[in-house]
């Protein structure tokens, strides 16, 4: 405490105010500000509270899959606009340009320390990774592919829920993806979910909650209903740790909380424990 105070005083004395030109990351859990540059060096983990911040799909694939092993599936799916919803088509185009993604999920084949697996990675930059037709279809195809080819699935989830702009069609993606998980389950294959920040709404209420093993990164938000919706219903403030990964572990909806640094080796061990031994990825044409 005293030391902190001293630092603050010294800072003030030296005129060492944070430079507004340096982009900062403000931790949504503890409020600590860290320079973006420093956050990148730390693997996007808050140095104060260990909150595991959001990664792009490309970043996630890079730290999960063996080098050069990832082969994308169904890369050319783009959302149509079934409701002709005001502003939706423009929003999609804008985000495609901004993120270089077609939509909010990337699926593909890879090896993790040699074990072949189907990989699903959601990217929250794209409309909070809400689940519309493209997300639903790609995830469904990934599970069907894995069921047919006797492969495990590792899914890194992140989502704000349903894609409202696709109306009821978006809601039905919950049933469609859950059906595909069930098909993969009946094929006797392993499905590992990794819940990342934030996993909520319709994705929580469908394929994200159906893993044989459910992992989560520290301090990430996991829940069904939005915090503000609940606070509005009960008219009181919710505790800070409500719906965090640790809360879900305590209530029995997460098997393990795994730090990013340990994720790849944990996944590899779990895959091998289920008999998915290391083998070279088959060349496909």
């Amino acid at each position: 405490m005293l030391e902190d105070l001293f630092k603050t005083v010294t800072k003030r004395f030296n005129g060492d105010e944070p430079d507004p030109a340096v982009p900062m990351f403000k931790c949504p859990r503890c409020g600590t500000s860290t320079p973006q540059q420093k956050m990148a060096e730390l693997g996007k983990i808050c140095p104060n509270c260990e909150y595991h911040a959001r990664l792009t799909a490309a970043e996630r694939i890079a730290i999960t899959a063996d080098t050069d092993s990832f082969k994308e599936l169904d890369a050319n799916l783009c959302s149509a606009d079934p409701l002709e919803f005001p502003g939706y088509a423009e929003k999609v185009t804008e985000l495609q340009q901004k993120t270089g993604l077609n939509d909010a999920v990337v699926t593909g084949l890879c090896t993790i320390k040699g074990s072949r697996t189907v990989l699903i990675v959601m990217d929250s930059r794209f409309m909070m990774a809400s689940m519309g037709s493209v997300v639903g279809e790609k995830i469904t195809r990934a599970f069907e592919y894995a069921a047919e080819n006797k492969l495990p699935v590792v899914a890194f989830t992140a989502s704000g829920g349903a894609r409202m702009q696709e109306g009821i069609i978006s809601l039905m993606q919950m049933a469609k993806t859950s059906a595909a998980v069930q098909k993969h389950n009946e094929a006797g294959q392993l499905y590992i979910t990794v819940l990342t920040d934030p996993t909520t709404g319709g994705v929580t209420a469908s394929f994200a909650s159906l893993g044989d093993i459910i992992l989560a990164e520290p301090k990430v938000l996991i829940g069904f209903a939005g915090r503000r919706v609940i606070e509005g219903t009960i008219k009181q403030h919710l505790p800070d740790d409500f719906q965090l990964a640790e809360f879900q572990l305590e209530h029995g909806y997460v098997d393990m909380i795994v730090r990013r640094k340990k994720m790849r080796s944990t996944l590899s061990h779990l895959l091998k424990l289920h008999g998915y031994t290391a083998e070279p990825l088959k060349e496909e044409c």
């Binding site: 049933a175 069930q182 209420a205 919706v229």
Partner: protein, 273 residues
């Protein structure tokens, strides 16, 4: 459907929110015989928002699952305004597995603003409970028919909506988000719910267009709303016909068709390079 429903989505929204709109409690004695309500999820308790039980439909034993709306404050208190907790969905799952064991067809009645959003609901895994039902209903080896009676509110409705055939009462609505919610996202103004209602495409006709519902059940020939006897008669007629059709099918074929019914829903483009 023989005649056209001229009501706008908003007019239907008002109609299904009307406290005089019949609820499952009204339909039960008119559609089924020998109904016995069965309670509890065998874990946490008994959720009044979801009713479950067994009875006969035209002599045939069936399992009935329904979201329960109340018509006064006591009834609504008991049924939590038809907003289920996880244990409600788990009660439903317990009873449909029982139905599968005894080769009874399952009939689900959907009528909810949505799954309940609260602390206990989160602690007891609302998301997991809904997800589990979606997956398990998909492989249930007995016919499942679902009917939206009034409000089909989001995931809370879909949790009873994985089925071989879905029918909508003609004024019923099915939506991913409440009109208020849609309006506040669209225009940052919840009061524009009336406009949102029309944009979202949530009517029975929309559901048939999208391939989500197979049938629209007529509510009355005169266009008068909430004609209980007439609606019950039409409901029963539809159910008897559909349950018998689905029961005659080979179960593996039925499951394949159920998978395909949901598998094909989605609108996207795919360019091949």
């Amino acid at each position: 459907m023989e005649r056209t429903n001229t009501r706008s989505a908003w007019e239907r929204q008002l109609l299904i929110r009307d406290k005089n709109r019949p609820t499952i409690r009204d339909y039960l004695p008119l559609v089924f015989e020998d109904f016995y309500e069965l309670h509890g999820d065998r874990g946490v308790g008994d959720d009044g928002a979801i009713l479950g039980g067994i009875g006969r439909l035209d002599g045939v034993p069936v399992t009935i699952i329904a979201e329960v709306k109340g018509r006064n404050i006591q009834e609504n208190k008991a049924s939590n305004f038809a907003m289920p907790h996880p244990e409600g969905y788990r009660k439903a799952l317990r009873l449909v597995r029982q139905a599968e064991k005894f080769h009874r067809p399952v009939i689900c009645f959907i009528d909810t603003p949505g799954a309940f959003c609260g602390i206990e609901a989160e602690q007891r895994g609302q998301g997991e409970a809904i997800a589990r039902n979606l997956a398990e209903f998909m492989s249930l080896r007995t016919p499942v028919v679902s009917i939206v009676l009034g409000e089909g509110g989001s995931g809370g409705a879909l949790a009873l909506g994985v089925c071989d055939a879905l029918a909508m009462l003609e004024n019923a609505l099915y939506s991913v988000i409440s009109p208020r919610g849609a309006a506040s996202i669209l225009w940052k103004d919840a009061s524009r719910e009336q406009e949102a209602c029309e944009v979202m495409r949530i009517t029975a006709e929309d559901m048939v267009d999208f391939g989500i519902a197979e049938a629209i059940i007529s509510e009355s020939d005169t266009g008068v709303s909430n004609d209980l006897d007439k609606i019950a008669e039409n409901l029963k007629e539809y159910l008897v016909k559909t349950i018998s059709e689905k029961s005659e099918k080979d179960i593996d074929l039925l499951l394949k068709e159920r998978y395909t019914k949901f598998r094909k829903i989605g609108v996207y483009t795919e360019t091949h390079r």
